[in-house]
Symmetry: C2
């Protein structure tokens, strides 16, 4: 177990503990630690809200003090919603996630500390942490405990996620059309558009075809789609010939 521990200090509502567990499981986190949960432990509402993440709630460890919950950790970030006025580095969630990943690569045990619903972390707890994490929001800032855990978990996951920023979704056999397939499409289209009188007058033909090529290359067609387009050209010209004959 090397992903960061999620430490909830003095959480109040079981629902929020359950929501935090569910948020954790979405992003590969499992080590949940609770400091003096207000309504005791175990908490049925936490288990119910966790749904498919009930295993995380059941494995949660309970501590009497924040110090005890952090005792084995080497790098702890404290999430806070407001400035505290003492000198402490403040990180964005993304920067914190990068540093947590770096610490894990170095074999360190890490954690992210969250305060209770009513008043967050107290200054003593913040002073125990390596640094502070602030979630940037608009002037209206009303993130609940589960949402804060969700956003930090998301950034943790993202920091190692290799999903390409953009990919083309298509079947396993489809591939993008080659330059040659596109050239054949354009030749076919130009031939039929010349016959039809669309590329008129002749001194505009080249510019018109250039615009058509620009428009059609922008769509990143697959080879199958190019065959479909060529079939459409055949059908449209045949239809016209039939209508004319």
């Amino acid at each position: 177990m090397s992903a960061p521990a999620i430490i909830l200090s003095h959480p109040q509502l079981g629902e929020n503990i359950g929501a935090a567990a569910r948020a954790m499981k979405n992003f590969g986190l499992a080590d949940l630690r609770l400091v003096a949960p207000r309504d005791g432990w175990p908490n049925e509402k936490a288990t119910a809200m966790a749904a498919g993440a009930a295993d995380i709630v059941e494995a949660a460890r309970i501590f009497e003090t924040t110090e005890a919950a952090l005792a084995d950790l080497q790098l702890v970030y404290a999430t806070t919603a407001r400035e505290r006025g003492f000198a402490k580095p403040v990180l964005t969630p993304a920067a914190a996630a990068t540093r947590l990943r770096e610490a894990h690569s170095a074999g360190h045990q890490t954690g992210i500390l969250f305060g209770g619903e009513r008043s967050g972390l107290d200054n003593h707890e913040v002073s125990l942490a390596t640094a502070i994490v602030n979630i940037p929001t608009d002037s209206f800032a009303s993130l609940n405990l589960g949402q804060a855990v969700l956003l930090l978990g998301y950034e943790w996951f993202k920091a190692a996620d290799e999903t390409p920023a953009l990919r083309l979704e298509h079947g396993p056999l489809a591939k993008l059309a080659t330059g040659e397939e596109m050239a054949h499409l354009f030749a076919h289209l130009e031939e039929e558009l010349l016959k039809s009188g669309f590329l008129y007058p002749p001194d505009k033909t080249e510019a018109m075809m250039r615009n058509i090529r620009a428009m059609l290359t922008r769509a990143d067609f697959t080879d199958q789609e190019v065959r479909t387009l060529r079939g459409m050209i055949v059908a449209l010209t045949r239809g016209k010939r039939r209508a004319l004959s």
Copy 2:
């Protein structure tokens, strides 16, 4: 109003509509559009859950069809949890947010489309969108509607947020210590450590002081903190002299 519209297609629970509105307001989004909400409209539970974002719920517009809700938009991303098997670009939330910001800079109206709780968007709705957005998760993927809106809103906000990744939180008058202040601290410390016999044997003095400087520069002390450290040295050496006298 130029931030993306959030379009919820066939949402079921008022609570989730309210949670979506609240997530939107955290990240500067305000244009909420609902396609055929199951329980009719207005919906008391949506307003109650929205809390401080009730104005967004009250200003929401209702449409009978997804086409109508998208009619004025020029770039629409559809959020989906699974592959659809037709050729369509798939973006990460971060990449989608960057492109949405680019579209806004170009003056385009944009939107992000979310499906209902039970089965998400249908293939016809996905085919109306410019591209697909997938939220990356671990194998356990159980994000609800409000959480999906939260993560997309967060990325939208982040794409233009200028919060530095790391900053040192301190009062408005504090500043980091200068090289000269640190040099005076090290000279003071070295003098007292030499007197005390700590820097022994003499051929190790330079290496020991180098390690001490490395350790103490890493903490990015402020000028005030350097004065505090020098006061500590004075107090500790005075205490020792008193004890010895």
